[in-house]
């Protein structure tokens, strides 16, 4: 199969334009990266710093993205309120974190305290996600696909302003855990301990989810419902319960991501904090192949790293001013490119019309 469709098939201006776009993008990336790397402006240690920060940010995107992909896999709907599920856990737990810090428990028993916070945030987000499914989405099951999508957007605003009403509009910050401060030095390279913690915690949670889905009865039921609801029902699976459980698992992961994010970037906790990470995680899920669990993990990590090194590597090399301000542009350009060139995502499969 040729790379350029128009050479083998009948000539099409659309295909030709897409191919030209493809070449220009590759050329831009190569030229930008070459200019930056050949100038030697940024040292190897600084690149490693950017990569490690990107990997940590990507781990958080991946955890949130799993919620999108689980729900999509089972219901074929995009839960646009999932960013707010993440916010619910993160915002609620900041008060617990402050209390643990005041009593000194946070720094006396840091791992236990963090585990406690993750469980609390997970439970809060799980509750919000289950309520969301029960109240806002279940009554609309079977409606045209646009209906739950609009409802999800409405639910997103509802959750934002509910939490603004509950906790106020000001910004909060997670207290810093002393054990996570400092760096691990290898030569000139300094990796912050907190970034290693973020990556490892996210990895443990992701492996836990993979085990749950692949190795347990409920996981098998989730996969069965995802394949065909009616057949799963005939096999005696309680569809409603499985869907609710799926929302709960996605919520728990999002809440956990909220606390891990609080360890990584402690500042800026407020009612609006879930919006951008939510959209980025959705991008990550699409990037990896929505509905595909390893795809969401990979998409999150990939997006985090691209966002972190892209501005300095490609945009600065092309002489684009204010490259750091275009970080979001890189993320959403990735989404557009994936939708143009590989709509099923990196690991996704083309869905048949029957399933889609």
């Amino acid at each position: 199969m040729s790379i350029f469709k128009w050479k083998t098939d009948e000539f099409s201006w659309v295909d030709f334009t897409i191919d030209v776009l493809r070449v220009l993008i590759v050329l831009g990336v190569v030229v930008g990266a070459w200019n930056t790397l050949s100038s030697g402006r940024i040292s190897f240690a600084q690149w490693v710093n950017l990569f490690a920060a990107g990997l940590s940010q990507g781990s958080i995107y991946a955890l949130i993205a799993l919620g999108y992909t689980l729900v999509y896999g089972i219901l074929l709907m995009i839960n646009f309120a999932h960013g707010e599920v993440f916010m619910a856990g993160a915002f609620s737990t900041v008060f617990l974190a402050e209390a643990l810090n005041r009593t000194g428990f946070l720094n006396e028993q840091p791992l236990l305290a963090i585990l406690l916070m993750i469980l609390f945030a997970g439970l809060v987000s799980m509750t919000v996600a289950i309520l969301l499914e029960r109240v806002a989405y279940r009554p609309l099951r079977g409606s045209p696909r646009l209906v739950p999508l609009i409802t999800a957007i409405g639910a997103s605003f509802f959750l934002q302003y509910t939490f603004r009403g509950l906790y106020g509009s000001g910004f909060k910050a997670y207290p810093q855990v002393k054990i996570l401060q400092g760096v691990i030095s290898i030569g000139d390279i300094n990796i912050p301990i907190v970034q290693i913690f973020v990556f490892c915690s996210a990895l443990i949670l992701m492996l836990g989810l993979y085990w749950l889905v692949e190795r347990t009865r409920i996981g098998k039921a989730m996969r069965a419902v995802s394949e065909n609801k009616e057949v799963a029902r005939l096999m005696g699976i309680d569809i409603d319960w499985v869907i609710m459980f799926t929302f709960g698992v996605g919520g728990f992961l999002a809440g956990s991501a909220g606390v891990i994010n609080g360890m990584f970037r402690p500042q800026g906790v407020n009612f609006f904090m879930g919006f951008i990470p939510g959209i980025k995680a959705f991008t990550a899920a699409v990037l990896g192949g929505i509905g595909n669990i390893p795809g969401a993990m990979l998409g999150g990590l990939f997006l985090g790293v691209i966002e972190a090194i892209g501005p300095n590597l490609v945009l600065a090399g092309l002489g684009i001013p204010g490259a750091n301000q275009l970080k979001d542009v890189i993320a959403f350009t990735m989404l557009v490119l994936v939708l143009i060139f590989r709509p099923q995502g990196i690991l996704g499969e083309r869905l048949s019309e029957q399933k889609a």
């Binding site: 402006r41 940024i42 040292s43 240690a45 600084q46 710093n49 950017l50 920060a53 940010q57 509009s169 000001g170 910004f171 909060k172 910050a173 207290p175 810093q176 401060q181 760096v183 000139d188 390279i189 300094n190 912050p192 970037r265 402690p266 500042q267 800026g268 407020n270 951008i276 966002e307 972190a308 501005p311 300095n312 600065a316 204010g322 490259a323 750091n324 301000q325 970080k327 979001d328």
Partner: protein
């Protein structure tokens, strides 16, 4: 017939009633018209302050200053009760616009204190000016707000005054501080596109370059950015001695906290702006805040000490920021102007000429305020500036967690006392 007569009497009565204010207003010969306060009605003072969001402490701080100035007069002026109407202007142009529209829609409002943020002022100024009103800002510093030259980015319009220092003055002093007090040879600046942060960054960079320093990097972040690694790495390429970062929270928290992990910026000094002059800045930033310089208002003197005593009696806590004295002065400028121009009409109403209020404030000269001797200027780029610019200092943060009685932090440089010579 009888019905026609009754209808005629009712019509004449209605016309007479509707003409009454016009008759009363006849005695007003102000080119912008008058605000009429009928007998038994209060004099209504407006305020456009940031009452919600990340920096609502600034709104609370300045509202306290306004309230204490009113309390000092027992909420009474020209034998009338004073009523305060507070609108939340947020810290955005849209917020300022909405707050100004609400105040402008109320014909009883004699003038407004606010806004806190320069961005909010940009939204509010055209509306307040068009309505013939006045606004006196206690904490705006953007140079563009007092610049008449629209072509060069100025946005000053008649009716706008402020008691906070112009960013041009603050920028000049901070550049001198960096160059002469910190012995810095090179500088980087970072703003977020807000007129306040951009104006200050520009002023600091210009003066630093004029004084012979090297400005190595001038960049910006987006409001809402949480990842600063990219811009910090770019700054690290240039390795400046000082980074001037007048960002608001939480961007300033993210910037300072993430800088500690960037290779190449280990010895670089941060100078923050007054937007981060709050105990929440070190609280939210953590250990990385220690050693950061922050510019902010510094007011001293017996009269100010008395105000602080009053503050504690009234609110029982420390002022959350440093602009309450500026708000107190702003309120007094407005009340003094009202006192000077208020005229009692025959029917007992009070009349305030709108242009007369503007002229009275503009005529302020050597008024002994808490923040210094206030004289309102008319020359652009200082049109509407009433502050002498002396109540300013650079503080150095020494503690990661700050308690009420430890704020403000130690003064590193007091521009009213310390000299570079």
């Amino acid at each position: 017939m009888t019905r026609s007569v009754v209808s005629l009497i009712i019509a004449i009565s209605l016309c007479t009633i509707s003409l009454l204010p016009a008759v009363a207003a006849e005695s007003c010969d102000d080119p912008l018209g008058c605000i009429e306060v009928v007998p038994d009605d209060p004099i209504v003072v407006g305020a456009m302050l940031v009452m919600s969001g990340a920096i609502n402490y600034l709104g609370e701080d300045t509202l306290g200053g306004v309230e204490l100035a009113l309390l000092e007069r027992d909420y009474t002026l020209l034998e009338r009760e004073i009523e305060l109407v507070v609108e939340d202007s947020l810290c955005t142009a849209e917020g300022g616009q909405t707050a100004a529209q609400r105040l402008a829609a109320d014909p009883s409002i004699v003038g407004a204190i606010g806004t806190n943020c320069s961005s909010a002022a940009q939204g509010a100024i055209p509306i307040i000016s068009d309505a013939g009103m006045v606004m006196i800002a206690p904490s705006n510093t953007s140079p563009s707000l007092t610049n008449d030259d629209i072509a060069s980015g100025g946005s000053h319009l008649p009716g706008y005054f402020r008691t906070s220092q112009n960013g041009l003055i603050e920028g000049t002093r901070l550049a001198e501080f960096a160059l002469l007090a910190l012995d810095a040879n090179s500088l980087a600046t970072v703003h977020d596109g807000d007129p306040y942060t951009e104006g200050l960054s520009r002023a600091v960079a210009d003066t630093f370059a004029e004084l012979g320093g090297d400005v190595l990097f001038e960049g910006a972040v987006n409001k809402g950015d949480t990842d600063m690694a990219s811009i910090l790495t770019e700054i690290a390429v240039h390795q400046p001695d000082v980074i001037y970062v007048p960002l608001f929270e939480p961007e300033s928290n993210f910037f300072a906290a993430q800088m500690q992990h960037i290779v190449g910026l280990e010895d670089t000094i941060i100078i923050g702006g007054a937007a981060s002059f709050s105990s929440s800045f070190p609280d939210n930033t953590g250990e990385a805040a220690v050693g950061i310089y922050v510019s902010g208002p510094l007011v001293s003197g017996e009269a100010y000490d008395e105000l602080l005593v009053q503050w504690h009696e009234e609110y029982g806590v420390e002022p959350p920021s440093g602009y309450h004295a500026h708000a107190y002065d702003a309120t007094n400028l407005l009340l003094n102007a009202l006192e000077a121009v208020g005229v009692a009409a025959d029917d007992g109403s009070l009349l305030f000429g709108r242009q007369a209020i503007r002229d009275a404030i503009a005529a302020t000269e050597d008024y002994p305020g808490l923040t210094g001797s206030l004289t309102c200027r008319e020359d652009s780029p200082f049109a509407g500036d009433c502050s002498p610019g002396t109540a300013l200092a650079v503080f150095v943060i020494t503690e990661a967690e700050v308690y009420d009685d430890h704020w403000p932090p130690p003064v590193a440089w007091n521009f009213a006392i310390d000299s570079f010579k």
